[in-house]
């Protein structure tokens, strides 16, 4: 059995860093726990669900996807874009965030394959951390996950001996490469967090497929103020915008995160907007996660991490919406 003392967890990060990996981990950043690049001496915060997820390391907020050298009088020359895909270990990824990778892999690889995403995905080893605790917003169990789920992970760390140790278990070849950095030991794994199933996603999907025009949407979306907090925090949401930015010498074509909650997301240049109000946008969000995505990719676009609800200033909670939808379908 491979075990790590919780108090010496940073040693593993250090060992990985020394071995040439970029290390990503939950770090306390002035009171807010973020999933970010770990640097020597930083404390790793394993206790809280970070505001960001491992998604940021595979599909960054902003990325150059094309580059042009600008010349005289509107002339330009394309400049090759170097792929940024350093060898990375993502440490302490929540099982819900690791599970989200299946949904991201699907969209970035159906038909057209996204090379830059795939390069980073291939270069990343995901070491997840089973949850011994859950809060009121967690609902992984309702969407096919589990607090100790292994989907998407190359290795998993399970809390043991009352939280004083972690048991390391490799789940893939990439995960086994790290085994040597963890010492042998003995520990008794703790019970994973207890969660109640709140709704049945299949029932929700059935109601959604038949109720696009329901008056439910108008009422359900009243509180939504149309920001992107939920989408940006979501480990699955992957909508983006392409924007050119240039100075005198160079143009960078950037892929930036975007959100279906924004009013301008679908606005045509003509002024027509297929989704003219927040109820149409909230419907799109729920439909995409529980109806469109599962129909297209055979996987839900929600892993129950609860971030959207935890962060929403207006208390929009997708699990609660699903509970209400399931009740409507009965």
């Amino acid at each position: 059995m491979k075990t790590i003392e919780i108090g010496r967890f940073s040693d593993l990060a250090q060992a990985l860093s020394t071995a040439g990996y970029r290390v990503a981990a939950p770090v306390d950043d002035g009171g807010v726990v973020r999933f970010k690049e770990w640097t020597k001496g930083r404390e790793i915060a394993l206790g809280a669900v970070p505001v960001d997820s491992v998604k940021d390391f595979l599909f960054p907020r902003s990325e150059v996807v094309a580059r042009f050298a600008l010349e005289e009088a509107g002339a330009f020359t394309p400049v090759p874009v170097e792929r940024f895909a350093p060898k990375t270990v993502a440490l302490g990824v929540r099982p819900c965030d690791a599970a989200a990778l299946a949904a991201l892999d699907a969209v970035f690889n159906w038909d057209y394959r996204d090379g830059s995403y795939n390069a980073r995905r291939a270069a990343t080893t995901v070491v997840s951390l089973a949850c011994a605790k859950a809060d009121a917003h967690c609902f992984c169990i309702s969407v096919g996950g589990a607090p100790d789920g292994t989907a998407g992970a190359d290795a998993i760390l399970r809390p043991a001996d009352g939280g004083s140790k972690l048991v390391f278990e490799a789940l893939s070849d990439k995960g086994r490469l790290l085994e040597a950095m963890v010492s042998d030991g003995q520990a008794v794994p703790d019970a994973p967090a207890a969660l109640k199933k709140r709704f049945d996603p299949a029932a929700v999907g059935r109601w959604l497929a038949a109720n696009f025009e329901s008056p439910f949407w108008k009422e359900a979306a009243l509180a939504c103020l149309g920001c992107g907090a939920c989408a940006y925090a979501c480990p699955v949401c992957h909508c983006f915008d392409l924007q050119d930015e240039s100075d005198r010498k160079e143009c960078r074509r950037l892929r930036n995160w975007d959100s279906c909650g924004f009013g301008l997301f679908t606005l045509h240049a003509s002024g027509h907007n297929p989704r003219p109000d927040q109820s149409a946008r909230w419907r799109q969000r729920v439909m995409h996660k529980f109806s469109i995505y599962p129909q297209k990719f055979k996987t839900l676009a929600c892993t129950g991490c609860g971030r959207c609800a935890r962060l929403c200033q207006a208390g929009m909670a997708i699990a609660e919406t699903c509970e209400r939808i399931e009740a409507l379908g009965r």
Binding site: V107, F212, E213, H238, D244, R253, F265, H268, P274, H288
Partner: protein, 281 residues
Amino acid sequence: MNDDLYKPFLLRIETARDEAPDVRTFRLKFADEGERVEFFRRYRVGMFGLYGVPGEGESTFCVASPPTREGYIECTFRKVGRVTQALQDLEVGQALTFRGPYGSHFPIDSWKGRDLLFIAGGIALPPMRSVIWNILDRRAEFGKVTVVYGARTTADLVYKHELAEWAARPDMTLVTTVDPGGQTPDWKGKVGFVPVVLKELNPAAKNCVAVLCGPPIMIKLTLPVLSALGFSPKDIYTTLENRMKCGVGKCGRCNVGGVYVCKDGPVFTLDELSRLPAGDM
């Protein structure tokens, strides 16, 4: 397969022609022969591309020339936003970026031997023009070809030189019309709205495929006429537009219900469209 999804082809403007107020056509040559071959290997009528100006961005519209003209591609577009403005500011000899061809196409091989009825309004002729030329370039394979084309005013009719050419051809019928009040004193075509003109024309629906493109109001009023003429929803084709960024089914904004316009479309039959939620269009 190339997985550098946003690396564009380079096209150079060979000619530019003003079609109507704010509407311009470019004939574009591929800067790279390999890219030209790659484009025509994949291109079928009805597919679209993303045309870009570095520093301004990309804009989505159809390819307006047929795959039977392999030396170049043409596009016709109206100036409506930042990118289309920048595109129209380009001059002959300058380059633009292009990604495509993307999306679904008109299944013209399955139309062999059948009559074809094209109905277009205003700036919606370009996506249909590629189909019409493709058919005309393979004329013997198809039955009767009829084109009904209307615009608000005579000034708004696009491809005026080609309309004259089509009108003179003995192997097709062209009916042009402008909205009442939109005619000039020397206008020789019809005066009236497209659905009314179509009703008067009374084309036979038997063994006929209809292709319909135009502003929403024209589509809305023309569909009942086609239906009354006996056209089946499976024999009526159209092409949808929606805001797009990636063109390859990833950026998440062009879906209508569960259908991605960039991947499952832009070409749909009326039968397919009728299953989509109207409230998402």
